[in-house]
Structures are given as C-alpha cells and as structure tokens.
C-alpha cells in the first residue's frame, strides 16, 4: 500500500524529479498550483489585452480542452480506481454510503439553488449550466480540509463526497448531446480501443504510455465522432492500466525502482503541464462580464451545497446511518463548506458543456470565484473552533 496521489503530499514527486527541480517548483507541482497560476495569468491577460488573449485561447482551446485534458482526467480516474480497489483507502461500500448521500444532497441543493436563481431572474438560457454549479474541486477541498484537520475521518469523507459529486458532472458530460453530427461507427472504434488496452494488460505492459499511444487515439476518435466529450477518451482504458492499492495519508516514499511509480510520476508531470495550459486557455474572463450566471453559481456553490450536504447527512443519520467517528456537526459543517469550491472541475465542465459566448463568460467567472469557498471554510473552522482551531 502506498500514498494516494490525490493527497499530493510532498513526496508525490520524490526521487528522480527531486534531484532536478527545486523545492519551489516541487511545491507548485505537489499542490496542483499550476492550474491556478495559468488561470491568474489568463485573467490578467484577458482584462488588459483581450483580443490577443482570445486569439491564443481560440487557437489552443481544441488541443488543450479536448485532447490534453484526457491525460488529466485519466489520472484522476486512475487515482480513484486504485483507492477504491481492495486494500485501497476508500474501499468498502460502508465508507461510501454517507458521503454519497451527502453528495446527492449537495447536488440537489446546488442545482436547485442555481435553477431557482436563474428562473427568478428570467434568464432561462443559463439553466443548462446547472451541472457546472454542482462541480467540486477535489484538490481544493482536500487541501483545505487537510490544512484544518491534518488527519482523521474528515479527509476520506471530504474526498468521497467530492468524488461522488463530480461523478454526476461526468455523467452529464457523457450523456448530454453535443452540437455535432454523430458517426454510427463510433462504438466499434471504442471497442477496438478497449480491446487494445486489454491485450496490453494481458501482455503485462507496466508503463502507461503504450496504453495511451495505442488505445488512446482509437477511444478519442470514437468519442469525438460519437458526440461525447473526447477528454473522457482515456477513461475506458483506465481499468486495464497497471495499478496497486493506495492509502490516503501514508507519507511513505514510493519505491523509486518500481517502474509503475516512475511511470506515474511522469504521467503526473504531463497532466500538470496540461492543467497549466487549461488554466491559461480557459481562465481568462472579462471581470465586468459578471452577471446573473456568476451570482447564481456563487449562491449555489457557497450557500446551496453546504446546506444540502448538511441536510442530507442529518436525514441519513435520522434514518439510522452513523456519522464517522470524530465528526460532529460542527466538523461536518466545515467539511460541507470545503466542497464549495468548484474551480478546476467547474471550469472543465463549463468548457465541455457550454459554447463560447456570454453564458460561458458568466459561468466561468462564477466558477473561478468559487475559490472564495476555501477561505470561507478556514474562516468557518476558526469560528466554530474545529480542527486546528479547536480550543485546547
């Protein structure tokens, strides 16, 4: 069992990488800070020289959003896959049950708040963006909870809640028809890609890249021609990749000689470069384009979701489910608030579900603004005296 990469602990890029990159760069990589860095550059650029920014953004949108992001999404799904397999930190349905209930409550309340807001504003064209309001930035939620609680049941609880929530977004992304003509042979192409991955698994290929190089293009083409967002292209391959169970909080150094760990570090670096570009391409929104969609996103994520999560957990507890040990209502309140940041995943869903134009601008601005949820979580923890702010 080894460290879960979703926790991005300082050891995640250990060994060969450590020798060549400085501590500052490693800090940025380990905490997935390249995406916010890219988004910050984009935000400044778009608000000072918008024409140049949008020309570059338009040029890079397809390769980054529809091809590059496949590498990142596959990494996330791979991490989740390893965590939920036998021996993994998130294994057993018992651990999932309450977070899933919490997530569903959160999704219902977030979507409800968002739809009521845009409905009351009579801007129904914004209604289709409700899944974006529901998105949770897994890394942001994890880091803010880790900052407050350091260890204990809060970490797996927030991770599971965030992952279950984002599964809804992925489902919408997979099923919502895109404005393209669908090619009927796409399913056959997808099956060919999966068969190629299965064959490599059978041949005990221990590196990831051969899977991506051989099966990836087939699956990507299949999804693209089939009218499904092609950034999900590597997801069907993930179950065939070499893997081993992961723990959440072990800070043990991975075995450097293990080709699996080495390959995963390479994958992580590539994914983060993609995230930098993703932030750069999609993070540039004109600040004065804030409008109903922005406020609806913020209200739904910062108010609707925490209330929905708490209400769902309260309902589940009333029905006989137990709260995880060490998590009182104050702690659960802080955890619920920690899921309010949609940032990365919200931005990804926004670019995947909404065409360019003012609707996307408003919603993307809302998605970026939900980072305020992280600061509000720390503030709430301080007010409620939980975690590191508990009175001793």
């Amino acid at each position: 069992m080894r460290h879960h990469a979703l926790s991005h602990d300082p050891m995640a890029l250990a060994a060969p990488g450590r020798a060549v990159i400085g501590p500052a760069v490693r800090f940025v990589f380990d905490r997935f800070l390249l995406l916010p860095a890219g988004a910050a550059v984009a935000l400044v650029w778009a608000n000072t020289a918008p024409e140049g920014y949008y020309q570059l953004s338009q040029l890079l949108a397809f390769p980054v959003n529809e091809i590059g992001m496949a590498v990142f999404l596959a990494l996330v799904v791979h991490e989740v896959f390893e965590a939920i397999m036998p021996g993994g930190a998130l294994h057993t349905w018992r651990r999932w049950l309450l977070p899933v209930v919490a997530a569903m409550g959160g999704v219902a309340a977030t979507a409800g708040t968002y739809l009521v807001y845009v409905g009351a504003s009579h801007e129904t064209v914004l209604a289709q963006a409700w899944p974006i309001a529901c998105a949770v930035d897994v890394a942001a939620a994890y880091y803010v909870i880790k900052l407050i609680f350091r260890r204990g049941a809060a970490l797996p609880f927030v991770l599971l809640t965030a992952l279950a929530t984002d599964a809804v977004g992925v489902l919408v992304l997979m099923t919502r028809p895109r404005a393209v003509d669908v090619w009927p042979g796409a399913v056959a192409l997808l099956l060919a890609g999966i068969a190629a991955a299965a064959l490599m698994r059978r041949l005990h290929v221990r590196r990831f890249w051969p899977y991506f190089a051989a099966a990836g293009p087939l699956c990507w083409l299949a999804l693209y021609l089939g009218g499904v967002h092609p950034a999900l292209a590597l997801v069907p391959i993930v179950p065939f990749l070499p893997r081993e169970p992961r723990s959440l909080e072990l800070f043990a150094e991975p075995d450097d000689d293990d080709p699996l760990h080495h390959a995963e570090r390479e994958w992580n670096v590539v994914a983060q470069v993609v995230l930098l570009l993703f932030g750069l391409v999609n993070g540039g929104v004109i600040l004065r384009h804030y409008d109903t969609g922005t406020w609806a996103m913020l209200s739904a994520a910062l108010v609707g979701r925490p209330i929905g999560i708490i209400a769902a957990v309260a309902g589940a507890v009333a029905c006989g489910l137990r709260r995880p040990r060490g998590l009182g209502w104050r702690e659960l309140g802080v955890i619920a608030m920690a899921t309010s940041s949609g940032f990365t995943f919200a931005l990804f869903l926004a670019t995947g579900l909404i065409a360019i134009g003012p609707v996307l601008s408003q919603v993307a601005l809302g998605a970026l603004s939900t980072v305020a949820g992280a600061a509000l979580t720390v503030l709430l923890a301080r007010l409620l005296h939980v975690g590191r702010f508990a009175e001793r």
Partner: protein, 283 residues
Amino acid sequence: MRKWLATAAVVVAAGTWAAAIDALRLPKDPGSLKFAVIGDNGTGDRPQYEVGQQMAMAHDVFPFELVIMLGDNLYGRQQPEDFVTKFERPYAALLQAGVPFYASLGNHDDQKNRFYAGFNMGGERYYTYKRKTVRFFVLDTNLMDPKQLSWFDEALQASDDLWKIVYFHHPLYSDAGRHGPDVQLRVALEPLLVRHGVNVVFSGHEHVYERVKPQKGITYFIDGSGGQLRKGDMNPSAQTAASFDQDQTFMLVEVAGDELHFQTVTRTGRTVDAGVVARRTIS
C-alpha cells in the same frame, strides 16, 4: 373591435400622443428596402409603448416593410399574456399594418420564444432571409457553438447578395459602461464578417444607442434602448462615431443601391443620429 381595442390600449398605455418625428432624413427611394430596428425592448413599460407609438407614426411617413429585433424581446415572465403586453400591444399598429418582426434571441429571452409566430424565427435560433438586395443573417450569440459558426460561414459563403447585414444581441464593439464589447465573440465572428463582405452589424444588450466607426470596413450599430434605458452609461472613445444614452430610441434604415441610410429617433420623435454607410466591396 379587436383592432380598436388594441389601438386604444396603445393610447392609454402611452398616456399621451407623442410628437411626430422631427424631420425625416431618409431618401424614401421607391425601390429601396426600408426597415426599422429595435433592441432590448420587451419591458411592457410605458417607454416601450411610446417607442411603439413613435414607430407607428414613422411608418406613416416612411413605410418600412419589416422590423428587426436585436434581442431581449421580452423581459421578466414570458407567459402567453406577456407576449401580448410586451409585444403585441406596444406594436399593435404596425402588426395590424402587416409589418413583420424578425427577432434574434437575447439573454433575457426564453429559447423557446423562437417558436412564437410573431417573431418569424421559424423555430430556429439562427437563420437567414432576404429582402430585395439585402440578405439578413440572424445569430444567437448567447451560445456560439461550432455548428452555428459553420452554418454562418456557409450561409455567408453561399450569399451573392449586394448587401449582407448581420444582427444579434451581444455587441462586438461597445463603449457603454455596463458590459462593454464581447471580445471572445469578436475573435470568433469578425474574421467571417470581414472575409465574406458583411457591410453592417446591429446589436443590442447595452441599453444605449451607439454607432461605432467602421472596424475593418464594417459599421457596427448598438441600439439596445427600445424599451430599456441605462442613462449616462456611455463612455465615448476614439472609436465612437455617435452615441446617445438619455432616452429610448429606435432606428429607421433605408438601403438604396450602394448606400445604407439610417436615422435614429427617440421616443419623443427627436433625431439623435443620421447618416449614410456606403457598401464596401471585397477584393
């Protein structure tokens, strides 16, 4: 009886007859295409009715054959009765005279409104139609999806009409304070407009009137004060040719040969801008 009631409703809602348009500055060429322009109009409030009344009076002296709508055709609730109070009554006189309205969708419009017969959209978010020497292209800029973009490119390519006029809700150039230009849309649309010889673009969204100096050969108009008004919102810049932000307005346009004549009129009948745009040719 229904006609009489509708006319009476206009009079009651407007409260008083407005003064007639001060002076018509359009050539009134017999073979020309004459049309009117309104945007951000569907409030159902008194100023909208007054604009509608002024348009009806203008129609008596300048018989325009259609009205183009730049989006936000209905604000607030959009139930069947709202189509009456926010569209059919304010423009009752024009509708009774058989003047068709061709709408584009704004951010406040329910996307289902494209099926409303009075907007003549044929159930489409984006569409094209031709009158005399002019082909109009109507876009839905709320969501500029790749399918719409490629449709627009192909429709422009297929058109060999003398004049190509495009209208949609969100402006590509603007000096108004609230929203400003949508540069992301501009980067997507402007290359097509330039390449295919579009002459004039009309938009709304900003609740003011603005005429932008020709950009890459194209003249841009914003007229988003057909019902709404954001007083004092204009910040004219070097690219502003003319602007007005003190009252509700509509436009009268006449395309005669190689010239497009325009006149912008307030709800009280005052002319705030007028001029001529010469047709540009592409090499």
